[in-house]
């Protein structure tokens, strides 16, 4: 039994467009028109959290402060995600385009692109693309400047307030929220921070109108999304797919015929076991994802998978808040102890309660999301955790 392939979409990487032209046309519109178009499209942030992009821009635009910033979050670090790298490599002008449109809406003269240290090799090309972009803006008489800021190997800096801290020269420790970036972000000024992919979609919506985007996907998950597909698949790579598919449909298209589980959303996402493939929708109504899809076949130990994720979190936690810093250490030591028989199997339940506490008390999304993979793997693959 096989479904036909999932619907491929070509909005992001479509080279058949003239970014300069789109900017020019968009700048002819009013800010309200742009925001309404975005609102109409239903575009939600593509970094994983899914906040409506139009509202983010609108709230920031409403702030009276004369200094505001647009920041492109290119600190893609979620294990299993690599689509931003491809976007920056293939269509950087669209990313910059999204930034300048946002700048117009919110009233920013400066933008920053925070590029993860692992992608430094992209820098020379990005800088020359940026020079071209700045030249285009000069032609269009638009006063806006983008600067690329390099990260230095810290996953947590993808968290928006940690990213601001990092840009301000500090340790990338997430801030207390509120205040939110729309009110107090980079340099404590109103700031829009959007993921690379979100900015490109916003730009494409400016080009095509809301309709083309809105017609794709479901009520809760409009449009398409770029997926990073890896693991046990013959078709690993980057795909732009319409949202709204089930994991089953996904696996039919991308699995190797022996798929046991799919980790949706990377280490901080959810593990979907085979028995739940049919009922689970990939999107905000089901399992949300920043684009990472890791496929595991029956030869894989889910204990190893979880252990790998927990090692990642244990190291990449900023370390400031108790639930995340100590919780991660306890989860990893805990599953090791159960596996080795040093603790009884029901210690896993204790750890699940701990994960629940982490989910509701950690200071930022990192600590809160450790529970996602922990729960979904331990619950669905308990035997593998014990034996």
């Amino acid at each position: 039994m096989s479904y036909s392939n999932l619907k491929r979409v070509d909005l992001i990487f479509d080279q058949d467009c003239n970014p300069k032209e789109i900017i020019k046309n968009t700048f002819a519109k009013t800010n309200d028109q742009i925001v309404n178009e975005l609102l109409e499209s239903g575009l939600k942030g593509r970094g994983g959290a899914g906040f409506p992009t139009a509202l983010k821009w609108k709230y920031t635009a409403e702030q009276p402060d004369p200094d505001k910033y647009i920041i492109c979050n290119a600190d893609e670090g979620e294990p299993g995600t690599f689509k931003d790298r491809e976007i920056l490599f293939k269509v950087p002008q669209k990313v910059f385009g999204g930034m300048v449109v946002c700048a117009k809406v919110i009233g920013a003269r400066e933008g920053f692109l925070y590029l993860r240290g692992e992608y430094r090799f992209l820098l020379p090309e990005l800088e020359s693309q940026l020079a071209k972009f700045h030249a285009d803006l000069k032609d269009l008489k638009i006063d806006f400047n983008i600067k690329i800021v390099m990260g230095s190997g810290a996953y947590i800096c993808g968290e928006e307030s940690a990213l601001f801290e990092s840009m301000e020269g500090h340790r990338g420790e997430p801030r207390n929220k509120p205040p939110y970036p729309t009110i107090s972000g980079f340099r404590s000024k109103p700031t829009v921070i959007n993921n690379v992919e979100t900015l490109v979609y916003a730009f494409m919506i400016c080009m095509h109108g809301a309709r083309k985007f809105k017609d794709l996907g479901t009520a809760d998950s409009r449009g398409s999304k770029v997926f990073s597909i890896s693991g046990d698949t013959p078709k690993a790579g980057i795909y732009e797919l319409e949202l709204g598919m089930t994991v089953e449909q996904f696996v039919d298209d991308f699995g190797d015929g022996d798929t046991k589980a799919v980790q949706v959303g990377g280490a901080s996402g959810f593990c979907v076991p085979r028995k739940k493939f049919k009922e689970t929708i990939i999107g905000f109504e089901g399992v949300p994802t920043g684009g990472s899809m890791m496929i595991f076949n029956s030869s894989r130990s889910m204990y190893n998978v979880l252990h790998n994720y927990l090692e990642f979190f244990e190291e990449e936690s900023c370390g400031q808040c108790t639930p995340c810093r100590v919780g991660c250490q306890q989860l990893i030591k805990g599953i090791e102890a159960v596996k080795k028989g040093q603790r009884h199997a029901n210690y896993l339940e204790h750890l699940q309660k701990l994960a629940q506490t982490m989910k509701i008390t950690a200071k930022c999304g990192l600590g809160q999301s450790v529970a996602n993979s922990f729960f979904s793997i331990v619950e669905n693959f308990k035997e593998e955790m014990i034996y």
Binding site: E76, G77, E78, P79, G80, T81, F82, D84, R85, R116, G117, E118, Y119, R120, F121, V149, M150, G151, S152, G153, A154, Y155, S166, M167, E168, G169, H170, R171, G172, S228, I229, S230, G231, D232, A236, G237, I238, S292, M294, R300, N304, V305, N308, Y309, E311, F312, E315, E316, C318
Partner: protein
Amino acid sequence: MPEIKELVKNLAGKHGRTRESLIPILQGVIHEERYISDEAMTEIARELDISAAQVYGTATFYSFLDTQPRGKYVIRVCRTISCAMKGKNLLTQEIEDMLKIKIGETTQNKKFSLLETNCLGWCHKGPAMLVNDDAYTDLTSEKVREIISDYMKK
């Protein structure tokens, strides 16, 4: 020591002397020296008029801002599950054998350091590694041997 002083001074001149310049300056030192020595940090603290402990605290937060001496070529092998599934361990073994060092160590001639790192963003082309800023993907034993040999000759 005088060279470090000069380097930091130049970097501060280039990036500025505010706190926001700290990480670009640290990155600049890494680019030249592969690690940030205590002398370099002291100089940076002096240039930016912040405490040396703050420079240290910031540097040690970031995996790429090494504070231990490193070789000319820093190899970072991705340890994420997707790379692990594609044979990362064998690959690491291969490098360890070639360079006669373990993960975390630097060769005696100060040419190579071998480290593991978190997701490099090449999961569809694992196993992957960085040598300084350059990414190498779809690695096999042969390919790794070739890459390392090339660097050995450099």
